[in-house]
């Protein structure tokens, strides 16, 4: 199985400051009737995209791979369709002050890296983007750093195992299957 990989990304950012963006907004439920993972790009923020002021999907953001989002991004439903749609929409990393638990795990499993920064850095990134639409960020998973012109590089926390999987292309299920003898022993014991 080909596992997702990630080393670094340097890209312009799409600003989406709203807090508590839930996965029902990222992909509305009516798009969940699919039986495969492909082709969800048009479902990404399907309802919010209809608003004239909504950034995702606008031509000027074409090619941007980093979503700069608000606090507690990805709350609500556990649907992995949310990261599938974000990846299909061209995103490779998300930057916020926090992410919802299930969403964060789902994102990492799809090569979409959730980067948590402190509120001051978060505000500085939004300000820099507002001042310059071409403002670009670099996310380096190996070094665990976020850097950008005019902003001091910051280290970000990331689950060590998820990081290793993404850097080395480790297939998580393959890894888990490697523990089958221990699983069998557990089943005999209990």
């Amino acid at each position: 199985m080909t596992a997702p990989r990630f080393t670094t990304v340097t890209s312009r950012v799409v600003p989406l400051p709203a807090a508590d963006v839930d996965t029902d907004q990222i992909i509305p439920a009516r798009y969940l009737k699919v039986t495969d993972k492909a082709g969800l790009g048009t479902a990404l923020f399907a309802d919010w995209r209809l608003r004239p002021d909504f950034p995702v999907g606008k031509p000027e953001h074409a090619g941007a791979e980093i979503l700069l989002c608000g606090h507690n991004f990805g709350c609500g439903s556990s649907r992995e369709h949310a990261p599938w749609a974000l990846v299909a929409g061209g995103f490779r990393a998300l930057v916020s002050t926090s992410f919802a638990d299930i969403f964060k795990g789902n994102a990492l499993k799809n090569g979409l890296v959730p980067v948590v920064v402190d509120p001051a850095t978060h505000a500085a990134l939004f300000a820099a983007r507002a001042a310059d639409p071409a403002f670009a960020i670099t996310i380096d998973l190996e070094a665990r750093t976020l850097s950008a012109p005019g902003i001091a590089p910051v280290e970000f926390p990331v689950d060590g195992f998820a990081r290793r999987c993404l850097l080395d292309g480790v297939d998580e299920l393959g890894y888990l299957l490697g523990h089958l003898p221990a699983i069998e022993a557990y089943e005999r014991r209990t």
Binding site: L32, T35, G76, S98, G160, F161, L173, L176, I183
Partner: protein, 473 residues
């Protein structure tokens, strides 16, 4: 031995491989619940690798999200829904998984049938590709939602790679007043800590107001844990739990039952166990709750005003409240009492159990649903539907002018044909009031079954206590 929380006891018992270096723990899963929406890609993944389902005997499937609930004619929403249901049938047949199909006696919402069938038990680890798996924690199980990749992991190995979450104990002191239900208690908690307030934590609910709840009320509370961002919610099993479980299929009887109960009793947190965080809520000060905005944290006591966004200092928070006010058309500074309601929905894995239907029926009995209101009553399972009909509840609802439907998720998620029209307002007993959750442009006010039923009769948001104290005609 150091004092342990209930969470720690269940977790420790299920660690197959301890965390090592940066590798997380391998955690054993006792019960895997499966539904049609979050499983097809996982089964495809298994096939692509040539794997089998490792423990079909620990896996149970149902159809609930995209199934129609219309009586008589079970027409599907569309071809996509049809193919999703057909896939689940094929997958379960191919991999030997017990499936409760549409129309069968064991059919229902995944978080309703687990407990009902005796599959949800104290001390078990339970997962499902569904965030409201937290419901099952009401029995002292460690139950949490997972994504589809993890569904594939559990199908293939019966295990998950997991980081140990933190613990938060929420103690509800005092006695809940008349008209204040389990739903109101949990909405009050979410209003207090916000939709991200319990992120990274497993909540243990404790205190006299929790002990006083029946199992159905406890499930309502644990169900909404995820709406505070929690990984799971748990309640220590007690006599109420054991009485609910006694006689369920697959459980022991006689001496073996007594031994089982003793083992379950020992799961409770040790008296001096330390939690990472603590919160106390005075249940006697909670009012019937209702949400006004676009997330479950936007709850207020039913007589209380919608907050003024202008009074919030943080600019992002203020912008979020302003956007919620705009979408919901709520009026800051005023309570919701008297607000026009188009639809009342009694159902969902939060509030579709027999006691929920009984409570709503008690409000509706002998009265008429307002002519401007569409009221849907959707039992959580085929078994609940039968039990309600045996009590004549269907007749109560139908006589009042409500629709009595087949079991399913229905208007909780609006991917099955049941939904609001754009701009319509629903008082709903479900768990999410996100934008568009009940249909494009829908506006959802979350509340308890009695608050919802009261609104159905009057056609406007109404204090349910007026139906309990005799002040309503």
């Amino acid at each position: 031995m150091t004092a342990r929380t209930m969470f720690a006891k269940v977790w420790d018992q299920h660690v197959v491989v301890a965390p090592d270096g940066d590798a997380p723990a391998v955690l054993y899963i006792d019960l895997h619940l499966v539904h049609e929406v979050t499983s097809p890609q996982a089964f495809s993944g298994l096939r692509a690798r040539g794997l089998r389902v490792r423990r079909p005997d620990k896996t149970v499937a149902t159809m609930d999200h995209s199934t129609p609930t219309k009586r008589g004619g079970l027409a599907l929403a569309d071809d996509q829904a049809r193919s999703q249901l057909a896939q689940l049938t094929t997958n379960c047949a191919e991999f030997g998984i017990e499936l409760h199909s549409l129309g069968e006696s064991g059919h229902g919402i995944v978080h309703v049938i687990g407990p009902e069938r005796g599959l949800t038990r104290p001390g078990r680890t339970i997962v499902c590709g569904d965030s409201h798996t937290s419901t099952h924690g009401a029995f002292g199980a460690l139950a949490f939602g997972i994504g589809t990749s993890e569904v594939e992991h559990v199908l293939a190995t019966q295990c998950l790679l997991q980081r140990r979450p933190k613990t938060l104990r929420v103690t509800f002191t005092g006695v809940a007043p008349l008209g204040v239900t389990a739903k109101d208690l949990v909405l009050a908690m979410i209003a207090r800590i916000g939709v991200g307030g319990a992120t990274g934590h497993v909540i243990e609910y404790a205190g006299p107001a929790i002990r006083a709840l029946d199992m159905e009320g406890r499930m309502t509370v644990c169900n909404m844990s995820i709406e505070a961002g929690a990984r799971a919610g748990m309640i220590a099993p007690d006599e109420v739990t054991f009485a609910y479980l006694a006689g369920k299929p697959g459980l022991p009887t006689g001496k073996a039952w007594d031994a089982q109960v003793d083992a379950w009793r020992s799961l409770a947190s040790d008296p001096d166990a330390v939690f990472d965080a603590e919160l106390t809520i005075d249940a006697s000060a909670v009012e019937p709750m209702i949400t006004w905005g676009t997330n479950p944290g936007h709850g207020v006591g039913i007589t209380q005003p919608v907050p003024q966004p202008g009074s919030v200092a943080d600019p992002n928070e203020r912008a979020a409240l302003e956007s919620a006010v705009r979408y919901s058309a709520a009026v800051p500074g005023q309570s919701l009492l008297g607000r026009h309601v188009d639809v009342v929905f009694i159902g969902s894995c939060t509030n579709s159990r027999l006691s929920d239907l009984q409570a709503a029926a008690d409000v509706v009995r002998g009265r008429k649903v307002a002519s401007t209101v569409r009221m849907l009553v959707v039992p959580g399972s085929a078994a609940i539907k039968l039990a309600a009909e045996a009590l004549g509840l269907d007749a109560v609802f139908v006589a009042a002018g409500a629709e009595w439907r087949e079991p399913g998720c229905s208007m909780c998620i609006a991917m099955n044909g049941d939904m609001l029209e754009p701009g319509q307002v629903a008082v709903s007993t479900s768990n999410r009031n996100f934008e568009g959750r009940q249909g494009k442009g829908s506006r959802t006010l979350l509340a308890s079954p009695i608050t919802a039923a009261a609104a159905a009769i009057t056609g406007v948001v109404t204090d349910p206590r007026t139906f309990l104290d005799g002040s309503q005609p």
